[in-house]
């Protein structure tokens, strides 16, 4: 009984994961037709304000802060921490 319930839970999670992967693949295919941006046209894309993580430093402190109050999976490498990070 216990194994069946756990299997059902995992199956539901797996199906949602499959939907997410499929949506991502479709989006990637759709983006494949975008115009090619030449290297010499990328000055604005390389500007520091297009990458504020670098402009103000990496956001590891914020991500740690979020991970102590939020149980959703984090947005970074999310390496270890104190006991409050156990979950």
């Amino acid at each position: 009984m216990k194994a069946a319930l756990q299997a059902a839970t995992l199956a539901a999670a797996a199906s949602r994961t499959a939907v997410a992967y499929a949506a991502l693949a479709l989006l990637a295919l759709a983006l494949g037709g975008c115009a090619v941006v030449k290297p010499y046209e990328r000055e604005k894309l390389a500007d520091p304000i297009m990458n504020p993580d670098d402009a103000l430093g990496k956001q590891s402190v914020e991500l740690k802060l979020f991970s102590t109050r939020e149980a959703g999976i984090g947005g970074g490498s999310g390496v270890g921490g104190g006991c409050g990070c156990a979950k």
């Binding site: 992967y21 983006l31 402190v61 109050r69 947005g75």
Partner: protein, 375 residues
């Protein structure tokens, strides 16, 4: 003791990097400091050092060292290190130190492929964690389209300081995998998206958290296995006429503890002058509470503390305001200060809070500063 050995190794790496500085190029070094305080007595001070250096043209090494000091850690956990403390010390002053080191290497292969690897280690009096991370990045169509694959294995030792002062350690393993793709849309915009998966196995409870069940106070007990997934998308655009940029990110996460969360993050950055950048951000997060559901039905012995904010319904806001100054502004009229030409200083204030009723209200203030050198 182990942290001391790692620190010595880090110092050696720094020395080697400095010795090589003449032959190769130091790309980047930074000295961040942050101070965090909550609407409780908790305060956290973090000092760090980061270095990125290119060796042999196609190899980059990275070193990151961080030291945290927490005073009056709360019974649950403080906001930046996750530090908690035994309930028996709840009435006394409490000080906790934590050290962290990350060392990594990245190698360019064949022009359009990069491989990377890093090692992470952290230690505090009742928690240690180590992790290895491997990554593969593949560029396509003149780097207009990028795919990144990352895998991580983490092994933690979750300690509990018991009443007699002894330490009880229990293990936890984490496997993570992520896929991220980036597509340039135009000379001023790009989109990034990805999926993350994570498997936690082992002792997943907080050893200090208790739950009151009737007349009994019992140790929090949660399932020893958890699967988590997330999907996200981010769009960024440069606004040429405003000398500004905006970014918006959405993330949806769910797991087999029946938790679901949504996150929306806006950022707007603008050049005030050619040497000053103003950054603003707002982040909204909402999650449903944990429902062990099927687990609990088959295992009535599972309890979790109802006051654990991570396991119940929650809604959080995060606002931030910062400035970055490129010190080249001060070099123009002072040639002797030319060594500061590629240096920047940043200061940021953020507030993280919820709208909950008084007993569950939470607010944290974070002040970050950072000094960065590029050579």
């Amino acid at each position: 003791m182990r942290l001391r050995e790692v620190g010595a190794a880090a110092a050696l790496c720094l020395g080697l990097a400095a010795m090589n500085a003449h032959a190769d190029q130091i790309d980047y070094s930074a000295y961040p400091y942050s101070a965090f305080s909550e609407n409780r007595p908790t305060k956290v001070a973090t000092t760090a050092f980061s270095l990125v250096k290119t060796l042999f043209e196609k190899t980059r090494v990275m070193l990151d060292i961080e030291l945290d000091q927490t005073t009056d850690a709360p019974l649950e956990s403080d906001g930046t290190t996750g530090a908690s403390r035994p309930a028996r010390q709840s009435k006394s002053s409490f000080l906790k130190n934590r050290g962290q080191i990350i060392a990594g290497v990245q190698r360019d292969l064949f022009g359009n492929t990069e491989v990377s690897g890093s090692y992470y280690f952290s230690q505090e009096v009742d928690y240690s964690s180590q992790s290895v991370v491997g990554g593969l990045t593949q560029y396509f169509a003149e780097k207009n389209f990028t795919i990144e694959l990352t895998g991580q294995y983490q092994m933690d030792s979750v300690g509990e300081i018991r009443d007699d002062g002894s330490l009880l350690n229990r293990g936890k393993e984490v496997h993570k995998a992520s896929l991220r793709i980036t597509q340039l849309l135009s000379p001023v915009s790009f989109v990034r998206m990805g999926v993350d998966g994570q498997r936690d196995h082992g002792f997943l409870s907080d050893p200090y958290r208790k739950s009151i069940q009737g007349k009994d106070t019992i140790q929090e007990r949660v399932p020893s296995m958890r699967f988590r997934s997330a999907g996200w998308i981010e769009c960024d655009r440069f606004l040429t006429t405003l000398a500004a940029s905006w970014s918006v990110e959405y993330r949806y996460a769910f797991d087999d503890w029946n938790l679901a969360s949504h996150m929306l993050w806006f950022k707007f950055n603008k050049y005030i002058t050619p040497d000053w950048i103003l950054t603003t951000q707002y982040r909204y997060y909402i999650q449903s509470g944990i429902d062990f559901g099927d687990y609990a039905a088959g295992n009535p012995g599972y309890y979790f503390a109802p006051d654990d904010p991570k396991l119940k319904d929650g809604e959080y806001h995060f606002i931030g305001l910062g400035v970055t100054c490129y010190l080249r502004a001060f070099c123009r009229n002072h040639p002797t200060w030319d060594f500061l030409r590629r240096t920047s200083a940043a200061l940021k204030y953020s507030r993280y809070f919820n709208d909950a009723a008084a007993e569950n209200a939470y607010a944290g203030n974070l002040l970050e500063s950072r000094l960065s050198f590029e050579f």
